[in-house]
Homo-oligomer: 442 residues x 4
């Protein structure tokens, strides 16, 4: 059997291939000469599986799609404060080539416009790097996101520099505001190299998947940037990634995204997939015409809109009953299921509070639980602590050790067991038998 | 046992109560006279449970927090196109009182700035409503979001109208551009009534929870607005809800939100909760000082940032094995678990493709599945269809009818059963026994 | 013989009549219905002579041409400081309908844009006038400039008010900034009445001539506004009168000017003439197409550009000689001619200093002098004073009393005589003979 | 006797010396190190006389005061169209360092802001000049305005280039718009050299006097630029010369002017004088604090405001009478006086038309006339032509040949004589006697 996904992608490409509106970027011959009919789309999952259709192995220059990745590298290399001191995070509502500096400070409004991206380039790597070393760090970083060594397109690079008047203007302006402290031409040269890195749609999908996968490249397993950096980068992509069409994109597509003037377009869904498309014809905002259509379709077909409410889940409390009769040996069992976040944890807390258990023994059964996040873990443990203080014995049925470090602290006490049976009175486990039941807390 | 959540909220309020920076809005005496020490916070879950601490039952005027809800009502009452024709969705990067009209058309940039909100007010209800009827529709709509009848504060309303010069200016400007087609003063009067609706933090949390709950009020069960409207509203709140601090908010808090000049602040997490805080002192952006601090804390403590990657889920494929020996009766079973979205479905597809099953019978077991969204459902059914075409008999073990309308279509065929056993050869169910196994497709 | 000037005007009109580009203002039916072929031009001299050709007696509404005159009335009625506190004088470089308020204060940038003109309207008359009285004062003032009673066009007035959304928007904005302190609608109503005053090209030429004539109506002899007000008004007309075409106008035409949307256009040359044209078709700046052409022609043909250097004058020193021999009775005579301003006076001072006269008697002969301005008068008297202190007897030959109050002050002494002969030794005039020679100073 | 003018200047300096507000420009050490107490003022008349007080021979860098002169050179060297195609003439209402480019074309708004001045620099000289040759041409041109060889301050030049980030930004922006077509750094280097030319207040006064004197250096007699260029330059100085204080300056001072960041300030009164002041402390607009005060005083004391109405002149018609009795020999004599421009000529035309002369002979007597400009000349000749056609014999009494080329054309005929007597019947002049009377026309 063939996978359904490439078929879906092929069908989607077929729907947009007839749209020949727009023009490839024409400001340098190398871009103007791009084959406008090229068309490809790729999905990369957070497990590293890549699906594609069309021209997903054609190389083109990354251009502005390098911006969120370089921003991620800068945040990772320097920390948040030094980067935020030089580049803001506010949407400018302006086109990509607007200067958009804050009036007083000259700080670029965000890292997705050129002024912000040029500044961001200088913040990659430690601050004692020489310009050429910094370019190397940027390319290495982009390669780590992609999971293969990338290289620049020298012809494009040279040609871009010959037409870099606006970026040079911006860089000199930033230099005049001391946002840049180096020679503006050198900075623009480095930034141009960053933009000239050659990628394929497959690479871009994997780079986006690395963002979707908390900053860890799904294939190589390398942590490229820390998780808080990813959150920052995706937020900025969501609000500023599509320039003056950011609001249209946020409402209609709802995926953190970034486009490049060579025809690339990426999107990253946290915890799910990275998406990339490639088609050189651009609309008036500078975004790939067919790429935008494809993303609109993907979002709609696949329910990827970030503001879409997830499917109503089954109740997190699978069952709530008492075993072992009504006597002193009775065990109240709260059988949970599914993925538990704050909302699920709230439901559990409520169940416990509302039931006001009279049984001494209370078991929280995680056997059917799929995942539990940190806030839910803390809430469940706090419930356990309070039950302890109220005189209960609390058991956590956690056969797969889903809940790490189950110490409720401060007077709380929890016994972790593998099955509900173990929570019933009587000897259950032989010594050394996987060390269970294990006790945590006071 | 007391619930842990109010305790958490009380602790959070305690942490911000000492911050007395900022000033209540002073442009009308009624707001200036607000008790600046008032402080409250409330959570409302999508199941309708409300938790609160502090002044959550003190009434104050809703002000700009009415904007997203009126926008939702307009989209619901008129449809997307007529509303988008008059009000854009682009972040303005400007303060709340900026006019921010598109140069050519005079279309307000988004519905969160006053120009957009005044225009939006006129788009609530059918277009033959008289102004007073429209105000009634707005208040009824806000009440439906809150789940109780709300009413306006007449004193604030009168006082606001006396200081409504800027809004009147905006309305006349919009009238000059034919964005408004009615008497500007009447429109501003209606809009002012909308902003003068009295609410409590408890109300606001429930209103936000209605957005979080796909547009259905968790308590009343009333569908207030359709789901696509909710998606649109949350997107606009995320990019434009906090005015010129939108970028800071999106990166640091990461929750679709809206603030009001009387000190209210709401946030809505799709599928999870609505949050509201109340504290009258405002920062220079016009947002509640303590409210912003509380949201930063909530987002961080509870992992609510929308761009935060959800906790890594257990593998969606719980087990994959063959029962019934290697003979012709063998049944290949794909036991799934958890919540299944696109990413999970992709994993399933891959599992099937990679295993290239030789067994005639293939069962997809949903017994341990928590939820399955639409794209996943379609992908699973497509897998079933292709397996059918490849000569397989496909069983769907779905004891709780999690997967609606399981017809794979176009040559596909699925038999839905309650247990894996039923998928094995031999008679299983008596006639009339819940009609199982049921067959779908060709 | 017929005067050459009407013939010139007729010829000029003939040259532009074929230009039918542009459109009459179309925002209200009354203006849209204007006969687009109407064409007239009038000159009014500072002596009150009016020359005209074409439709110079057709009435139309004054519109924005009222702005400089209302500004003059406000400056005259309230003084400079209160007016400058509310309306600036900086060119905005923006179109007529831009709001152009100063960021912090909301002060309109200048009185020629609508925001400034609406504010200016409220500053006419004393500040205790009721709105209707103020309108009366404005119309009376405009009438005084024109030299005949003007009245408003009620139909235009009503229609303008129905389309006054933008002006109402501006007025509410100004009210919000406390630049206006009255009801915005009442103010806009009054301003609309001001703009609806009916005038002819003949009227406008006379109104401009009143500005050219230091604020005195050449026909009625009434001083309408003081001279410093005229200087202020002409300066603002020069830099801001033609909206966003102000620089083109200043360089190409070089005459302080103002246009109105009904097709009128005026220019005022200090000390020379007022010019008005009328032709309803407007260019994209809102200025009369043919009117602009006519002014370009007038400026070029007649050398009216304010920055054009006046024709090189004959030397101001007509002759410099000694009469009465070389003895003690010798009289040094400085025979002046022409109009004497600072430059001429400088020449006189230099002549005296360079010649270092040894004669006791020195006569400054003004017989051939045409005019002498205040700075020249003061310089000549200072020369006389210094000559006195050096031991000379100074005579001023001033048969027509051109030089008022000829007291050189502080040790200076001057004897005013009618002829040079009188300055020679010996008795010349009988007592009581027109009181000459008259002595001034110590 | 000492001249009164230096005393006046000394007194004026004494009035402002105590004002130590403001700061010298501090962006380069060379300017920051300027002695802030330096103070000087100079007047240069159109005859070349220079008056001064204080530090009028201290050299400092010309800075932005070079802008109007370079603009004049560009207009002279290239013609108006090529220059206007690249640099506009509209006031920007913005500060000196604003970029102020037209949105679509990137054309700088005017030549007084840096973007316009940098562009203007490249338009000096023929378009085949090498950059170094062009700098030479600029310096030669500035020297011609000053009447002495000027040279650059190399230390300032080097230091400026090190801080030229903003100008480099502007130049790159202009290069990106193809307003500049050369290497931006080379252009900024050349422009910086232009700004680094060393001048004294004496030099600047003479440069301004060259503008006041129709483009001819009063001392050297060299025509530096044509007269229409001067008109253009003075217009632009009037509307744009003082940046965002242009309106204040135009109303309060009323003299075309330009300031420089090293403390210089110039003004030029057409036909009268050039004025320069020097005092390094600058106000927030970048204009010399004391310089502005001095100009306000000069304008007020000396009546130099361009919008000030010149002193009312005596009637241009000195007398109007008939000589030679009432018979056929009677001669109607129109005795004129003073300077005659359009307004005077109108008066003459009116006199002739109103008197409807019956005498055959009509004499226009220019003996007492001081000057007559071109439009007046043409009007007087047209009157003569019409009188001829009406059957009159027309005599022009013009002993000093004030009226050149007195042919009235097209049927007109004029006899030029030296005295009124010659216009009476009978033989007056012997053959060869200076060829008088001379006859012109048909």
């Amino acid at each position: 059997m063939r996978s359904v996904i490439p078929d879906y992608l092929t069908e989607a490409l077929g729907d947009v291939v007839s749209d020949t509106s727009g023009e490839p970027a024409g400001y340098i011959p190398e871009l103007a000469a791009a084959d406008p009919e090229r068309l490809g789309a790729a999905f990369a999952t957070v497990q590293g599986e890549v699906y594609g259709a069309g021209d997903i192995d054609t190389e083109f220059t990354i251009q502005s799609i390098s911006k969120p990745f370089a921003y991620a590298l800068a945040l990772a290399d320097r920390g948040f404060d030094p980067v935020l001191a030089k580049v803001g995070v506010e949407p400018s509502g302006e086109a990509f080539n607007q200067i958009s500096l804050e009036g007083d400070t000259g700080r670029p409004l965000n890292p997705m416009i050129n002024a912000g991206a040029i500044t961001t380039h200088t913040l990659v790597g430690s601050d004692d790097l020489k310009p050429a070393e910094r370019v190397e760090r940027v390319i290495d970083g982009l390669s780590a996101f992609a999971g293969r060594p990338l290289r620049t397109d020298e012809a494009v690079c040279v040609s871009e520099m010959e037409h870099a008047h606006r970026n040079l203007a911006i860089a000199h302006m930033l230099r005049g505001h001391d946002i840049l402290t180096e020679d503006p031409r050198t900075v623009v040269d480095g930034y141009t190299r960053q933009c000239s890195v050659r990628v394929t749609a497959r690479d871009l999908a994997m780079m986006a998947a690395t963002l979707a996968n908390r900053g860890v490249n799904p294939l190589s397993g390398e942590r490229v940037v820390p998780e808080p950096v990813v959150r920052q980068v995706l937020s900025v992509m969501f609000t500023c990634g599509m320039y003056d069409a950011a609001g249209d994109w946020a409402t209609q597509v709802g995926i953190p995204a970034k486009s490049g003037v060579a025809g690339g377009l990426i999107g990253a869904l946290p915890g799910q997939i990275g998406i990339a498309t490639f088609s050189p014809r651009l609309d008036r905002h500078g975004n790939s015409v067919r790429g935008v259509s494809l993303f609109e379709r993907f979002s709609s077909d696949m329910g990827l809109h970030l503001m879409g409410t997830p499917a109503a889940a089954r109740a997190v409390v699978r069952s709530h009953h008492v075993v072992g009769g009504g006597g002193p040996d009775a065990l109240r069992v709260l059988e949970l299921q599914g993925g538990i976040g704050f909302a699920g944890a709230e439901r559990i807390v409520r169940e416990v509070v509302d039931s006001a258990p009279e049984e001494v023994r209370v078991a929280v059964d995680l056997t059917w639980v799929y995942s539990i996040d940190d806030v839910a873990r803390r809430m469940v443990l706090e419930v356990a602590r309070r039950l302890t203080l109220d005189g209960h014995e609390v058991y956590l049925v956690d056969p797969e050790s889903l809940l790490p470090d189950p110490d409720p602290g401060d007077g709380g006490r929890v016994t972790v067991v593998d099955t509900v049976t173990e929570a019933l009175p009587g000897p259950h486990a032989a010594p050394g038998d996987r060390n269970r039941p294990r006790e945590y807390g006071a």
